[in-house]
Every structure is written in structure tokens, then in C-alpha cells.
């Protein structure tokens, strides 16, 4: 298990640097083991440097930069050990439009291999979805599903208003 941890760690580290550069359009990132001699208990230090900026403690990053760094790490782990599905609940909330476009572009790439179910308020992210569900509460406190959008090729089908059950 020590060997597996070390192997997974070094693979994630490689992916993290790659995904971080794509999400930030440059810059540098790294993962460092606090104590290499004790693989079963060591903590993990995250190093992140947005493009053009100097290296600093990650606590000084902005809200959006921290979220984007966390997304890069999550995607890196995902590349090493893909899960058949992923559920993200408003993960794009702290991101501005530029970062949301980069995030949703990478998401679309990953969606070729795995399934993603995402909750979002951001129109830029919604556009990437093949199926879109709207939830409302016509009666206070009771959830209903209201609509489904199909992928590009099905756009010919009318938007199906799912009748309330």
C-alpha cells in the first residue's frame, strides 16, 4: 500500500502540473510530500503560482484562484483513477467568465470518457450539457422537473415540457 500510494502520488503530481497550466493558461503548480520517509502518514503540500505572479503561500491566492487550483487537483486525481461518474454541485460558482470557459472546455473533454452530472447557475457551463433539467417548486416545498433540452443533433425535437407527475 506504501508503494501504491507513492505511485499514485507521483502520477497525480504530473497531471496536476499539466491541468493547472491549462486552467490558468500558464503558471506553475506542484505537490510536495511533507515527509518522504513516512509515506503512510505524510501530509501533502500544494504549491500553486498563477502566471506572472511570484510564488506565495496558497492562502494568499484569491477565492477564484483557490477554487481553480482545487479543480485542477480534482481533475488530476480523476485522470489517474477515473471514476465512471462525477457529480459537481455549483463548482463553477467562484469563477469569472474567462475561467468558467476554460473549466467547461476541459469538462467537455473529460465527458468523452466519463459521465458528469453538474449543478450550475452559469450559462457558459450550461451550454456544454447534452441534457438540461430545470427544477422548480410550483407548490412551495415540492420539487418538480420542468424541462429537458437535447443535444445539438436533437435540437429538431421540441423542448419536452415534462408534465408534473
Amino acid at each position: 500500500s506504501r508503494v501504491r500510494f507513492a505511485e499514485t502520488f507521483s502520477q497525480v503530481r504530473v497531471q496536476f502540473r499539466e491541468v493547472f497550466r491549462r486552467l490558468f493558461n500558464g503558471g506553475d503548480a506542484d505537490l510536495v510530500l511533507m515527509d518522504e520517509t513516512n509515506l503512510l502518514e505524510t501530509g501533502i503540500e500544494i504549491v500553486a503560482r498563477p502566471p506572472g505572479k511570484h510564488l506565495q503561500n496558497i492562502s494568499l491566492l484569491s477565492g477564484g484562484e483557490k477554487a481553480l487550483t482545487a479543480i485542477a487537483l480534482l481533475f488530476a486525481i480523476f485522470l489517474v483513477k477515473p471514476s465512471p461518474f462525477c457529480v459537481f454541485d455549483e463548482m463553477d460558482a467562484p469563477l469569472d467568465d474567462n475561467n468558467t470557459v476554460r473549466f467547461s472546455r476541459i469538462l467537455q473533454e473529460f465527458a468523452e470518457k466519463s459521465q458528469f452530472i453538474i449543478i450550475t447557475h452559469n450559462k457558459l457551463t450550461m451550454e456544454k450539457a447534452g441534457v438540461l433539467y430545470g427544477i422548480t417548486m410550483p407548490e412551495a416545498g415540492i420539487s418538480r422537473i420542468i424541462s429537458v433540452k437535447f443535444k445539438e443533433e436533437d435540437k429538431s425535437k421540441p423542448v419536452r415540457k415534462v408534465p408534473p407527475a
Binding site: 501533502i44 486525481i77 468523452e112 422548480t136 415540492i142 418538480r144
Partner: protein
């Protein structure tokens, strides 16, 4: 493997039978505050075997059963079914499609069903072994928790790597 359909009844704000068909790419869920989007994530987490009421934002497991509104009475049972497409035989079973169901009553009893026949949670967990389904550390991301990966202490970060190893 991918999720084909989620059916919910009596679970949190989804008192009436509701069904969502997912596609293999990106499914987006949108809607106003408090309409029930995150409740769908909770339904997925629960049907996949979540044992902690706190991870479902409740105090006791009973909190997930529809508790009534000004116009509807509370109900006595919550039931969620998830149909999974097993075309690529990743799950160790002959079936091309399997449906897992979980029910709970106000009495606290919990039932699990596999293709409509009663089974134990253990049976479902065995089915998912090595696929990554059910181990949710990095595949279900709750609302507002994206920063946790970055802001937690270095020692706490290792759990995501261990899950992946």
C-alpha cells in the same frame, strides 16, 4: 458503466414520483434557490450507500423522508432507485442493466434491492468493487466544498490520494 435513470419518491422535497434520465456525457441541473437541486445529489449519495445523515445535511436519517409542507402531509417512506447501464460489463454481473433501490421508513429500517429483489448493502458494494462507484471522496463534490481540498491541513489532504490509490 454509466447512470441511466434516477427515480425518487418521498425523498426530501421530491414527494411525488420523479424520474431523471441521464446521458453518458454532461447532464446539467438548474433552478432557483431552494428548489431541490442539491437534494438530487443527496439522493444519489444515499442510494449508493451513504450511511451518515450529516453527509446528507440532516441530523437523523429520518430527515431525508419528505416532512410535509403547508399543502401536503409528511410521508412515511423515502425510496430512490438508480438504473445503471452495464453494457461494457464493468460491474461483475451478467445483466446489461441493473437497478439498485434503497428504501427507508420512519421506523429507521432501511431496505436495499437489486433488480427489485431484496439484498444487503454488502451485495451492492461488492458489485461496485474496483469501479470507483460508491467511494465518493473525489467523485461527488458538495456545494461550497470546493475550497476544502485547498484549505484543509496538509495531513488531511492525503485522504483523496488514498482513495485513488
Amino acid at each position: 458503466v454509466y447512470f441511466k435513470r434516477l427515480e425518487i419518491q418521498g425523498f426530501k422535497s421530491f414527494v411525488d414520483y420523479t424520474s431523471l434520465d441521464f446521458e453518458s456525457g454532461i447532464t446539467a441541473i438548474v433552478g432557483p434557490n431552494g428548489c431541490g437541486k442539491s437534494n438530487i445529489v443527496d439522493a444519489l449519495r444515499w442510494v449508493l450507500g451513504e450511511q451518515s445523515a450529516k453527509a446528507l445535511r440532516g441530523n437523523r436519517m429520518e430527515d431525508i423522508i419528505f416532512n410535509g409542507t403547508d399543502t401536503r402531509k409528511a410521508v412515511g417512506m423515502a425510496e430512490v432507485s438508480l438504473t445503471i447501464n452495464n453494457y461494457d460489463r464493468q460491474l461483475s454481473t451478467e445483466h446489461e442493466e441493473i437497478t439498485i433501490t434503497r428504501r427507508t421508513y420512519r421506523s429507521g429500517e432501511s431496505e436495499y434491492l437489486l433488480n427489485k429483489t431484496a439484498c444487503r448493502l454488502r451485495d451492492i458494494q461488492d458489485l461496485f468493487l474496483d469501479t470507483g462507484i460508491g467511494r465518493n471522496a473525489y467523485s461527488i463534490l458538495e456545494q461550497g466544498k470546493i475550497d476544502l481540498v485547498i484549505s484543509s491541513r496538509p495531513a488531511d489532504r492525503r485522504y483523496v490520494f488514498e482513495e485513488a490509490a
